[in-house]
């Protein structure tokens, strides 16, 4: 506390932080209203909300993984061209020649797998704690949309390295679309941009992966967290208070 205080009071510190450190509860509550990111949080929550066993912080872990994926993904975008002639070579270049390229590609890949796991675990945690019950039903529905978006993000990203693994996994995955009654062939055609996985597929998956789906996820996630914030002060059960599975 002392050192941070001294830094704040220095000439540079004062140019940086216009306000004194917020120490009292009243100051901090005011901080919530003046800070964009803190705005996503309520000022107060019920005590259970800060215990590990209540959420296992899995929703937050999912957000953090999404953040890691955004940062590492933007890095990868600088070196990657979504065409069958370039994609595979670009990934090799990232691994062999770009500084920290291999590490950042690894981070992107593993964070993606972990995000699917974290979101699934978050769903299970929310279920066992009964947090989908009134009035939170609709936030659960929004969560299901997030789950679908997460899977689609993962699946569209899977094609991008354009190796054998990518190509055939997406061939298998999109083959299922053809069995949708009545419009199956059209759905598959729409996804692939042709009869088989090819250049148009790679471009479509890339655009979905780096633009459409992330933007959609952020939009839906904002509503999800906003509703969580609104309900975070509600006592859920009339007879029990919050107990745990």
């Amino acid at each position: 506390m002392k050192t941070s205080e001294r830094i704040r009071k220095s000439t540079i510190g004062r140019s940086f932080f216009r306000n004194p450190d917020r120490v009292t509860e009243r100051d901090r509550a005011a901080g919530h209203w003046s800070n964009f990111l803190l705005h996503l949080y309520p000022v107060k929550v019920r005590k259970v909300e800060i215990t590990f066993k209540y959420t296992a912080f899995l929703g937050v872990a999912s957000v953090v993984l999404f953040g890691i994926l955004t940062v590492t993904g933007i890095f990868l975008m600088f070196f990657y061209v979504p065409s069958p002639a370039n994609a595979y070579g670009d990934v090799q270049t990232i691994q062999n020649q770009v500084a920290f390229g291999q590490f950042l590609r690894n981070s992107h890949r593993w964070a993606a797998h972990l995000m699917v796991l974290a979101v699934a675990a978050h769903l299970a945690r929310v279920f066992y704690r009964g947090a989908y019950k009134p009035p939170k039903e609709f936030n659960w529905v929004i969560g299901v949309v997030l789950l679908v978006l997460t899977l689609l993000l993962s699946f569209t990203g899977y094609l991008l390295p354009w190796d054998q693994l990518a190509y055939w996994a997406v061939t298998v995955g999109t083959a299922m679309a053809a069995y949708v009654p009545l419009v199956g062939d059209q759905v598959q055609e729409l996804l692939l941009g042709g009869p088989t996985v090819g250049a148009p597929t790679l471009l479509r998956f890339y655009v979905l992966h780096v633009a459409v789906l992330p933007v959609a996820l952020v939009a839906v996630l904002t509503i999800h967290i906003w509703r969580w914030r609104k309900d975070s002060m509600l006592t859920m059960d009339s007879d029990q208070g919050d107990t745990d599975a």
Partner: protein, 173 residues
Amino acid sequence: MLDPDPRVIANKRLLGVVPGKPGVGDRKEPAEEDTVMVWPNLLIRHAVTALVVIVIVVLIAAFFDAPLREIANPTNTPNPEKAPWYFAALQELLALFHPLVAGVLVPGAIILGLVALPYIDRNPSIDPRKRQIARTAFTVFMLLWIALTLIGFMFRGENWSWVWPWEEWHGEL
């Protein structure tokens, strides 16, 4: 705190808006002593969560390289052909049922079922002892799904035949 139980008195003008009960019904406001400030209590926990997640990702990424096979070759179909692991359960079902069932009806039913869950399970209690049916049903489904995922992911080899993962490894990440 504000008046917890505001009453409207007849023939008086409304001079202000007081917080009432949420539109959704009878919810207790938590007692003052059952709440904590988000800053710093929740923020610090979220920061720690973020650090733990970042450390896990950094460690995995430092020690394990992401796979990169040979360049895509449309004329050379690998055997087995594997979907990503999160679709492995569906792919396993595909080997057992007609594709319309495994590829369309089952995933469709799961998504719709999840969406509908809060409207089907109308039991208001969150006490685990009072929601045995819901918990059992969910647990059975989840274990089944995990089992199918593991089977599709690592117990299937050439031509989707059964293999033991410690003898032949076919799981792809």
